[in-house]
Assembly symmetry: C2
Homo-oligomer: 136 residues x 2
DNA sequence: CCAGATACCTTGTCGCGCAAGGTATCTGGT
DNA sequence: ACCAGATACCTTGCGCGACAAGGTATCTGG
């Protein structure tokens, strides 16, 4: 198994607060819900990619805030494919280890536009709430 | 095996579009995951509120993007209370119909700061991805 | 007098994220 | 020659939050 441990981002100090050690992970998880779809589609708009590539790519975006785990990414790609938003093509290009490349479809781009609008609205809404705090 | 779907057979009225009317709701739901907590805590930082008040208040924020349903809000408030991030007080103030007011605690403010940082990171990460699209 | 707003609550279902487990190939170090 | 670790794909099972739906009780306007 190549499950490179869950070491990743276990926050350092545990000051004994009510929120357990996994609290940060839980938050990240809940907040990131749905963003993977947006991220994947937007990346695929720039250029076609294969799964593992997306994995590594998103791992580095921002401070890893958009990191997607294997158990999330592959099922997501399958869902998007089933929904006709992306298409998959196995490609060998001289190697024995094939890669599955994904391309975004017109339907996928339309979906992306919708998702993006939704995201923007959410961000704007949150901003109006959070900005209010700073004025206090 | 095969990318079989059985999905998208949600509604009877099949107008042919891949993204049905429920798709938007699903998206909104997934994306809004976790934001309710942020929204509630930030509102409570400004002033103490009671549940139903929060319900109506968030319903109007933005374009309703941050709307929270009863089935979401009340359990959330209870979770936050259990975690010691807010405190609840029944208040009657001359009426027979009592209200349960919530106040944010110091622990809650610390939690809010963390959540907020997480949110900001996420927004920044997404922005860098989405901005790239516009430059194409 | 009663429909609708106010005000609280709970149970059940759905779907995503992910830990954990798997298969198979290639590469570098010893 | 060997094997750990990276590459590259995949799946099942569990946890948990959002919400529809259903409930109780009080107040108000027509």
């Amino acid at each position: 198994m190549a499950r490179r441990a869950g070491i990743s981002a276990d926050q350092p100090d545990d000051t004994g607060d009510t929120t357990g050690p996994t609290a940060l992970a839980r938050l990240r998880r809940e907040l990131a819900r749905g963003t993977a779809e947006l991220a994947v589609l937007s990346v695929l708009t720039s250029s076609r990619r294969y799964g593992y590539e997306l994995l590594k790519l998103l791992e580095q975006t921002g401070t890893g805030v958009l990191e997607v785990k294997e158990g999330t990414l592959y099922p997501l790609l399958h869902r998007l494919e089933d929904a006709g938003q992306i298409t998959a093509t196995w490609e060998v290009e001289g190697r024995t280890r094939p890669r599955k490349y994904y391309d975004i479809t017109p339907a996928g781009q339309a979906h992306l536009a919708m998702l993006r609008a939704e995201w923007t609205g959410l961000v704007d809404g949150m901003r109006s709430l959070l900005d209010a705090l700073d004025r206090v």
